[in-house]
Structures are given as structure tokens and as C-alpha cells.
Symmetry: C2
Subunit: 679 residues, 2 copies
């Protein structure tokens, strides 16, 4: 038995259905949808690349959504109380661009569509956050948009609980395809949304039976509606090309007390005379002949990129539909007792005296020099931060007690009550990270998470997108080395720090004591233009910092202890290994070998310092890197002649102290290696 992929000569049942739909009387709404289809066809043809099939299939449902339901005002695409629209099936980007264009958004004129997928065009291959204010999130990696939408819907509930319904009362709409629903992240996000009953979230599922490899029957036979019912969602199926059915379903969704999934049966590449209903319309231009014929089948007799004035005017009117609602909202905001606070939070500005409790904590730490695991120090920092920064919302992927991410007195977010500020994400790391992206994108929230550092791998696609979108999302990742002990190599990160450090725009901190942890938290919260990881120890670490003045972590690396004379070596360490370095230094100095110790909590911040500061910190002598992780990337700081003491492979299951001995990451081993090298 050969592949299930239909042979080129197989009859295409979609064509018959398409003919029946095209034979229906062309309503005004159909003509508006045809404009989307025509623009998608034209832009993909001109770019000679792109995905026409999805915009052509979903144009009808999207038209109903944008003309009758979506709350927005094209004059101010960042209006805080707008409905959020997420195109999770980001490859269908021309659907979004056509909608932004037709509804009259500035910055998405016909010339932008004509430069679809060209350098510096806001109409990039996939929707890129930041390229146009009407793009709510970057999508393309499948499934992410669903979880972004869950985060946005959750943010809406949290902010409505905080500021009231008169300021925050909007919906989140997501369009996704089969691919999004096959991804595991869709399970995590949808399960959580069902659990929390995020009733103002609606997913329109482009149920077209086609993926890149061909018919979904090749790999996919889920009963998706039943699956979402199992999550506690309300579900419905409609003909996605029937405006009345779609409208009825969207109305139903707005009345639901559960999140809703509307499966829209559509024909991919709708109107294309031979490629409709096939994978052939998914990811490449239709070709001039098929493009022409598709337009002709729609009765669309206009030159490329031309939209008749009547249709354009109706679309423009749809874009102004929310203007009155927005004006009324602005009036309410102007009179609202929390106006300033709302505007501050939504602008991503921190409260004026947010860092005062943290300064008090730092003063106390300088005095007490407590020996604490940095995960516990992190909790102390959170105790200072969370009451002072009301937009901080924490959580953990079912490791609250291990990650120390909760703060006493902060209530959990539960179904029906969103006044809490702590989220039990469940064992859903990927969904958590991507929903946090949605919360940050929504605005008004600074989300922070918790899980084990090694499980950064589970969140990686979402961390990458946070970095790409430059969102303030903070990940508290504990148990950051073999120091976690008995749980063994599956739970011991060794390559994880390197794996995160190589992601552009991500800042990774690995603080070495309580003071550094407080400093890193300060920097993380202040960092408005990108995500931050805090890698924290399970095991207790002695304090080495007694100065509470300057935030020394802000430069990424600094001299903790200078050598007693001209440096023969510099021990450069992070996190728990700063203590190892200090003990090794003491032993070496006792033997008359002048050695300095450098703490390097953030490679990214240190790399941003000028060369002279870097040279001064790293020193001229032998450079020794010490980190209970593999040495990948350390050559940058150690030079060709440096020495690295750390891991050279995966860890093992044993008590932590025994592991440090076993793998040779001890003061004795460091001192011996330095002496041997110095000769």
C-alpha cells in the first residue's frame, strides 16, 4: 500500500463544494471577502512566495469577525481595550495584512502589500510583532498563537479584576489551523484555558483537512471538538463560507460561559479552480493562470492590487466601527480613579518607588550576609518586589515549593476569581512560557514563571519568540546544576546555560549569592525590552557580597576579590561556583600566588561593556573559568590559553556534594589545576 497522498489525477471533492458555494448569490460580505482573497493572491504572486491558501479559505469567516464582532478602531490600533486578534496560523499572514489594509490602518497601504515578504516591509513573511501596531504577536511557529491568545485572555481577566470592567472588557479571537492543533502546546494552553474558564477567548479553527504533506488524513484523525469539550470548552462546527452560520456562531461565542472553539469547515485556496482543497494552494503562489482563473471564478475583474471603491469604503467603515466605543472608553478612563495607574501599567512603566523595598532588602543582606540557596534569595527579592509592583504576576509549572516563586499572602488565580496574582500553570512549561508572552504583549502585566532550569528546553520555542518580540517576561529557573543532586542527569542542566546564552536578546543571569540575586531581580524587572532568565541554585550558597550600594551585576561581571599583588590568575565563575573560586583563591593566596576572583552573572551585560572594562576585569594572567556546566562558549572570556573547570558531559545521580567532588569542581581541584598550569 503506497502513500495516502492523492494522486494528481484523483477527483477533488472540494471543487464540487466550491462550485456550489460560488453559485450562491454574491452578498456584500462575500464581495468584501473576495477583496481579501484577491489581495492575498496578488501579493503572493508578486512576492513569488507565500501562502495564499489559508487567507483564501478563511476570508469569509474573517470578514464576519472584523465587520461585526471584533472591537477595534483602525485609528488607534493600540487602544488598550480593543479586542485582541491573533493569527496563530501565521503563514496565512496575508489574511492579516489584507484586513489591516482594508480596514484603513495607517502604515499598511497598498504599497506595503506590494512589498509583501521584502526587506523592511511591515508585511513580512509571517506576522512580526513590532512591524505594524496592528500585529498583536509574532506567529508562524505553529501553536504559539493559541497559547499567546490564552495569555492575552488571562491578562484581560486579571486586569479586569484589578481595574474593573469599565476599563477592561474585551475579547481575544484566535484563528488557527490543523497544524496549530497538532502541536503539543495547543494541548497545554487549551487545557489551562478550559480549567480557568476563560470565557472571552474564542478560537476559529480553519478546518480545511489539508496540511503541507497533503490530506490531514495522512496523520490526523482527532475528533477535535470532542477533545476541546474534554478541556471544558464549548464547541461548535459551521460552514466557514456561510456568513450567516459564522455570525450565529460568533454571537453564540460571545454569550458562552466557557472558552469557545468554532470549527469552520473551509476549502483551502477557495476559488482556485484546480488547486482549491489541495495542499497545492497552501505554501506557494498559485501561478499566473490559476490566479487569474481564481479571480474570475469569484467574479473579480480588477487589476492586481486594485479594490473597487465601493468595497473599499465598506471595509473602511468597518475599520471605523469601534470609534464611538473607543471615545466612550476614553471618557470613562479620564474620569476613572485609577486612570494614572492604568496608564502607567499599560505603558510598561514601573511604579515610582518600586525599588525601595528592594533597596531595603539589599541593605539587610549586606548586613546579615545570609547563607541561602539563590532560589530562596529569589523568594526574598520577590517578597520585596511583588507588593511594590502590582503588575507582577507569578506562577510555576507545578514546582511552586521548589522554585520558591510564590510570596506569602499572594492569592492564586482560580476559576471565577482573577483577583489573585499567582498562577498554578500545571506541568505545562511550554504553554506557560507562550501564555506569558501573550500576557506581556497584552500589556499591563509583568509575568514571571518558575520551573527547573533543565526544563527551559520545554519552553524554548516560546523563549525564542519572547526574545524576538523583545517582551518583558521573566523565567525563574531553579536547580541550575549538578547541585540539585540525586534527581540525576535528566534533571541536571549542563548544556542549558550555553543553550540559553546563545539566544539573541535574551539576558541570562546566574547570581552567586543573595545580594547578587536581588541585583539580578532588579535588572530583570527594569529590563523593558526583552526576556530574562534567572538561573538559581537548589543548594545553599555563602554570601560574598557585603556592599549594597552600586548594583554590580548591572555590568554583567566584576571583580569580587582582587589579587594581593599583580595577578597571576583570574578565576572567573558564575553562581554557585563563585564560592568555589573564592575558596580556591584563599588556598592559592596562602601559597603566595596572587589570584583574583571575578563573578560573571550575565554574559550578555558583560559583553555590552567597553573593552577596557572587560580587560580590566578579566585580567592579563591565566584566566580560569569555573562553572558547573559544560564549557561551550567560555573561550570568549578565557582566550585561547585559558583553563575551564566544569562539566564535560551529562551529570549523575548522587548527593550534590559528592557530585561536585566526582566531577572535580572543588576549590582543591581548581587550586591544583591553577598551580599545575602556572608551573
Amino acid at each position: 500500500m503506497a502513500s495516502l497522498a492523492p494522486s494528481p489525477d484523483a477527483p477533488n471533492p472540494a471543487l464540487e463544494a466550491q462550485a456550489a458555494i460560488l453559485a450562491r448569490p454574491a452578498t456584500e460580505e462575500r464581495r468584501m471577502a473576495d477583496a481579501i482573497r484577491a489581495l492575498a493572491i496578488d501579493a503572493v504572486e508578486k512576492a513569488k512566495s507565500g501562502h495564499p491558501g489559508m487567507p483564501m479559505g478563511m476570508a469569509d469567516a474573517a470578514t464576519t469577525l472584523f465587520t461585526r464582532f471584533l472591537k477595534f478602531d483602525a485609528a488607534d490600533p493600540r487602544w488598550p481595550d480593543r479586542d485582541r486578534f491573533v493569527l496563530s496560523a501565521g503563514h496565512g499572514s496575508m489574511l492579516l495584512y489584507a484586513l489591516l489594509h482594508l480596514t484603513g490602518h495607517a502604515g499598511m497601504g497598498i504599497e506595503e502589500l506590494q512589498r509583501f515578504r521584502q526587506l523592511h516591509s511591515p508585511a513580512a513573511g509571517h506576522p512580526e510583532f513590532g512591524e505594524h501596531p496592528g500585529i498583536e504577536t509574532t506567529t508562524g511557529p505553529l501553536g504559539q498563537g493559541i497559547a499567546n491568545g490564552v495569555g492575552m485572555a488571562l491578562a484581560e481577566r486579571l486586569l479586569a479584576a484589578r481595574f474593573g470592567k469599565s476599563l477592561v472588557d474585551h475579547r481575544t479571537w484566535v484563528i488557527c489551523g490543523d497544524g496549530c492543533l497538532q502541536e503539543g502546546i495547543s494541548h497545554e494552553a487549551a487545557s489551562l484555558a478550559g480549567h480557568l474558564q476563560l470565557e472571552k477567548l474564542c478560537i476559529l479553527y480553519d478546518d480545511n483537512n489539508i496540511t503541507i504533506d497533503g490530506d490531514t488524513g495522512l496523520s490526523f484523525t482527532d475528533d477535535t471538538l470532542r477533545r476541546f469539550q474534554a478541556y471544558g470548552w464549548a464547541v461548535r462546527r459551521v460552514d466557514g463560507h456561510d456568513a450567516a452560520e459564522v455570525e450565529a456562531a460568533l454571537t453564540w461565542a460571545t454569550r458562552s460561559r466557557k472558552p469557545t472553539l468554532i470549527a469552520c469547515r473551509t476549502i483551502i485556496g477557495f476559488s482556485a479552480p484546480t488547486k482549491a482543497g489541495t495542499a497545492g494552494s497552501h505554501g506557494s503562489p498559485l501561478g499566473p493562470k490559476e490566479a487569474e482563473a481564481a479571480k474570475s471564478a469569484m467574479g473579480w475583474n480588477h487589476p492586481p492590487f486594485e479594490v473597487p471603491e465601493g468595497i473599499r469604503e465598506r471595509w473602511n467603515a468597518a475599520g471605523r466601527r469601534g470609534a464611538g466605543t473607543r471615545r466612550a472608553w476614553l471618557k470613562r478612563l479620564a474620569k476613572h480613579p485609577m486612570q494614572a495607574e492604568f496608564e502607567r501599567a499599560m505603558a510598561g512603566k514601573l511604579p515610582e518607588s518600586w525599588h525601595e523595598p528592594l533597596a531595603e532588602l539589599r541593605a539587610k543582606l549586606a548586613e546579615e550576609k545570609p547563607k541561602l540557596a539563590t532560589r530562596v534569595s529569589s523568594q526574598k527579592a520577590l517578597e520585596a518586589l511583588v507588593p511594590a509592583v502590582p503588575e507582577m504576576v507569578g506562577g510555576s509549572a507545578d514546582l511552586t515549593g521548589s522554585n520558591n516563586t510564590n510570596v506569602k499572602g499572594v492569592p492564586s488565580v482560580v476559576r471565577g476569581n482573577f483577583a489573585g496574582r499567582y498562577i498554578h500553570w500545571g506541568v505545562r512549561e511550554h504553554g506557560m512560557a507562550a501564555a506569558m508572552n501573550g500576557m506581556a504583549l497584552h500589556g499591563g502585566i509583568i509575568p514571571y514563571s518558575g520551573t527547573f532550569l533543565v526544563f527551559a528546553d520545554y519552553m524554548r520555542p516560546a523563549i525564542r519568540l519572547a526574545a524576538l518580540m523583545r517582551q518583558r517576561v521573566i523565567h525563574v529557573l531553579t536547580h541550575d546544576s549538578i547541585g540539585l543532586g540525586e534527581d540525576g542527569p535528566t534533571h541536571q542542566p549542563v548544556e542549558t546555560l550555553a543553550g540559553l546564552r546563545c539566544i539573541p536578546n535574551l539576558v541570562v543571569f546566574r547570581p552567586g549569592d543573595a545580594m547578587e540575586t536581588a541585583e539580578c531581580w532588579e535588572l530583570a524587572v527594569k529590563r523593558a525590552d526583552g526576556p530574562t532568565v534567572l538561573a538559581l541554585s537548589r543548594q545553599n550558597l555563602a554570601a560574598f557580597r557585603a556592599d549594597a550600594g552600586e548594583n554590580r551585576c548591572a555590568r554583567g561581571g566584576y571583580v569580587v576579590e582582587e589579587a594581593s599583588g599583580p595577578r597571576r590568575a583570574t578565576l572567573i565563575a558564575t553562581g554557585s561556583e563563585v564560592g568555589v573560586a573564592l575558596a580556591a583563591r584563599a588556598a592559592l593566596e596562602a601559597e603566595g600566588i596572587a589570584v583574583a576572583v571575578v563573578s560573571l552573572p550575565s554574559w550578555e551585560l558583560f559583553a555590552a561593556q567597553d573593552a577596557s572594562y572587560q580587560a580590566q576585569v578579566l585580567g592579563d594572567g591565566l584566566r580560569v573559568g569555573i562553572e558547573a556546566a559544560i564549557g561551550f562558549g567560555w573561550e570568549r572570556w578565557l582566550g585561547s590559553d585559558g583553563l575551564f573547570i566544569g562539566m564535560h558531559g551529562f551529570g549523575a545521580s548522587a548527593p550534590a556534594e559528592e557530585l561536585f567532588r566526582h566531577f572535580g569542581i572543588t576549590p582543591e581541584a581548581v587550586a591544583a589545576a591553577v598551580k599545575k598550569r602556572l608551573g
Copy 2:
């Protein structure tokens, strides 16, 4: 409203249920299960760390499985036709170790249990493949075991189709918990298993309502049975402490024509008088008092680690249960016409003349020097390999046409017919990679995948486990740079190569032309002790190799073109940038600057060469790294004074050639930078 976590004073409803169960007459099976519970309690107490709750809760169901259903023979834990047992909830490792111990497996004596979680003990914190032959896979990162089980069940079907039922006819049993089912990977794997109707796969779900944060109600309200029905599974719920109910369900599972999920309602930490039914029994020792009381509640009056002879003998008999079946199988094998082929495939040895077609291909490539995308060159290598290596089974996560992973004439694997050798994994990268681990662990299969390089992030937790377990799993990852063009930064890997290169035991290849691609494929297939990634271009690349003798990629890096005189610079490149380097060299040599070009397709293999070879290849002059990726890690080869030409952040959406110009990765830019540096 505060956290849903029950207050310490809240009544614990599990205790009443527990009392009722304990009041039932103690059957022989219950006493056998008590032995598991006692050993789990003792080992965790002695190690002062571990997870007693799960083994205590699932001991009864596991006893029924191991004494009446699981086909195995403790005398030969690697018997190829054994049932596979996967403890997906790997934190409950003492369940597995106790079972291996009690059924009389060599190498898991009482002394090993007494060294639970200690250095060099096979009884590691989580089950580690390779530590004991009875451990089928490494589990702990949640959800992976479910997907491993799907891969094993799929491997069984494929091998049964190839070798017949008389040699291959076994089941796969998985025990998982709530955490596994919350993970997204469970969705991907279960959806695929339902699609393919892997009827010999059975999951026993430890449905205990408890996760680390507390009651599952904090974060989890899925109707899991309904969810699995939506995937096409048969489902059932039983009292996990009732042997008769469990037995009936397991019998039902063996007769099902669909994969089965049996939700076992259990009490976590069963028998513990106060901690049963609470998160308190999940992840830490019960404490001496509670441990004592738990044993007393079971009526277990034996010293720690002591199992009464009668119980031990009954367990040992269970361990010998399959001996006759195994002997009969061995007789069938001895008479089977495919005996040698079966043994060869299961031993992971390649067919004798497997590389001959590849040698022919390489000779042809040397002659023709075709200009091809390396993804297309990869397909040519597969055309040589797949017919010659019958255990190779390919697939793609819905990108077959883009990854070029299929070979003409190779049928797809479809429901009801497993004679194919190509799997349409659907948009399920993570499930694919973890199922492939299961296929490799099963033996008899060399799985290779396809997706875009950037989506290695989605597979990363499974790739890590393949590396940790040293499994021969090959990932074909195409579209390996900004060279993919218009799809933009979401689809353009920039940090992905570094992110993979830092994983221990993983070999990453980035070949630069058709010849190198064939060589890398040869090395990947030969590599029996670890996973391999092939990073391949979307765009066409000119051939630079015309020699088909030595496999030059085997050393990881080599001089492609030597300088015309003493080297002033060495241009070190990988993949598509080798061509850039060669063009830059030509320009520089034309100006009288002696420059060599080095191709570095695998950092890992090059790092394994001796220092003198490395020095000879990299040269003494200026070293210039050229790679359309960020430079993280390149200092290792370039030294402190090297120059890196590549990416410094995320990519952009535009035609590929324009992007290379935009980001300055062109022969002209390289030549200019070299000249500037040389002064």
C-alpha cells in the same frame, strides 16, 4: 479567595478510602504489592530523598501487570520479543527498581536498592537507560515516556510487518501520571497512536489527583478519558487498588483493536497514615515515623529491605513466568529464514554492503559536481541508503516536500498497514523526536526525521534524551539559515546551531555541498552510539569537492583549498558559507593574499582530532569564521584574535540573496574584512 491548596487542617478524604481498602482481606497479590511499597519506603528513607508516593499508589496495579500480563523473562531482560514496560512517571523509579529486584533480575540486588540515588548505583534518581538492562528508557522529564512508548509500539508493528508475527509479537505498557498527561508531548504522541491505531499499546494512568503543587484541581480539570477517546483510543476507569478490576481491564486491553488508556484511581502514598492522598508523599521521604506507621498499616512487620521468603518466592516465580515463552520463541527464531537478518538488525549492525550504493553516489558526485541544495543532496544520499539499509525508517513533521526526506517508491506507514517505511508524523515535532527515541530503544530500526532546523527547539527535550541515552536517531533539519529567505526570523535559525552543538553526545553536521552531504549521511548511519543532526540548506550550493576517496568529513574539519603561499589567513566555514569562503579566497588570492579555506562540517568530530591536526587545519595566520548564524562558541576555533562574519541577531523576511547582502555575509564582505584586519 486564597489558594486552593488545602490547609494542613483540612480533612483528607483519601484516608477514609484508604482505610476501606486496607480493611479488605489481604490477598496474596496485595502482599506482593506491599513488598514494593515497603522497598520504596525503605530506599527513599535511606537515600533521604526520592519519591515514595507514586510507587506506593501504583504498586497494586503494577503487581497485576507484572505477575499476569507483562511478557518477560528476568533471565534475559533484553529478549527481543519481550513486552516493553515504560515508567513514564520516572520520578517513581523505585516502583521499577523494586519490580526488577523482586522478579529476580541480576544486577538489582538488595544492595543496589540500598544504594538508591547514590553514585554509580544502577538505581539512580530517575530510571537511566544503560544502568540496568531492565530499564527500557530514561524517564523523568514528564511526558517523554508516553511518546517513547508510542515509538516502541510503532517499532513493534513495523518489525512485525517485516519479520512476521512469529518473531515479533509483543505489547508496550506505559505507566504515567497527571504530569505526563499535562505535557504537550502527550497530546502529540497519543494523537498519533490513535491515528495509527497502535492497538498493542496500553497506558496505565496513575489517576491520583495530586501533583507537586497539591490537588490537581489547582490546575487540571481535563476529562482525560474523553480526551483520549477523541484521539481514537479505547478507555476505561478502574479502582487501581482492586486487583480484580485491574486484571479485567488489562485483559480488555489485550483484546482491544485500539490503543488503550486505563485510568487507575489510586491513592498516592497508599498506606501512609497521614500523608496518603497528599502532595506530602510525592517527592520526599515519609520520615521515620510515617514510614513505620505506613508499614504497620499494611501489616508489614519486617525490618527495612527485608522481604519474607514466601513473598520473595512468589515474585521470583513471576519473574520466571515468561521463560517457556522465551524458549519457544528462541526455537522459532532458530528455524526462521530471516534469523540472521533479524539478529543483525536487532544488534544495530549494518548490512554488509550497505555503503556500496553510497560509494557509487559519491563517485558520481565527484564526476558531476552538481549544484544542489544540501536538502536535495540529502535525498540523493537517502536514495542510496534507504534501499540498502532496510532498518532505516524515515519521516517528516509535515514537511516532506521541503525536507526531501522521502524516497521514491517507499510506501508510507498507514493505519492497518505497517509495511511502509515512511511516517507522516504530522505537525508533531516533539512527539516525533521522542517516539523516534522509542523506536531506536526498541531496536531493529534506525529512525530519521525531517523538519526545519529552527524547529529543533520544539524537539529539544527529546534530542537531549537521545544524547543522554546514546541512541542512533538521525534528524534531517533543513532550511538551516537566513538562506530560507522570505519566511523570515521565526523560521530562520540563527542560534540553533550553537544551541545544538552544546548538547553532549550529539553530533551536528552542516555539510557544504553534495559530496559532504553524502559523507555526513554515511557517518550518521554508522554512528551507533548517539544521535546526529544534519543541518541542510534550502538554497542551491555549488560543489567544491571532486574527490570521492576518503570521507573527509569524518575528521570534522579539513582544508578545502590551501593557500598559494604561507597562509596569511584561514577562512573557516560550514555549510552554505564554504562557498562564500571559496569566493572570498579567490578574490584575496587575486590580490596576492595567501588564504586557505577550511570546511568544518562537524565541530564535535573536529574536536576529537589530535591537537596537531587541528593546528594544521586551522593554521597560524588570521582565523576567520564564516557562518550564517550567530558566533556563539566560534572563539574556540578562532582564538582571541579571530574574526567572525555571520549573524549578530535574528534574521529578516526577504529573498535569500538579499538577506546575505543585508547581513554582510558575502565574498566581498569577507574579503574586505580580511584585508582591513591584515592592514
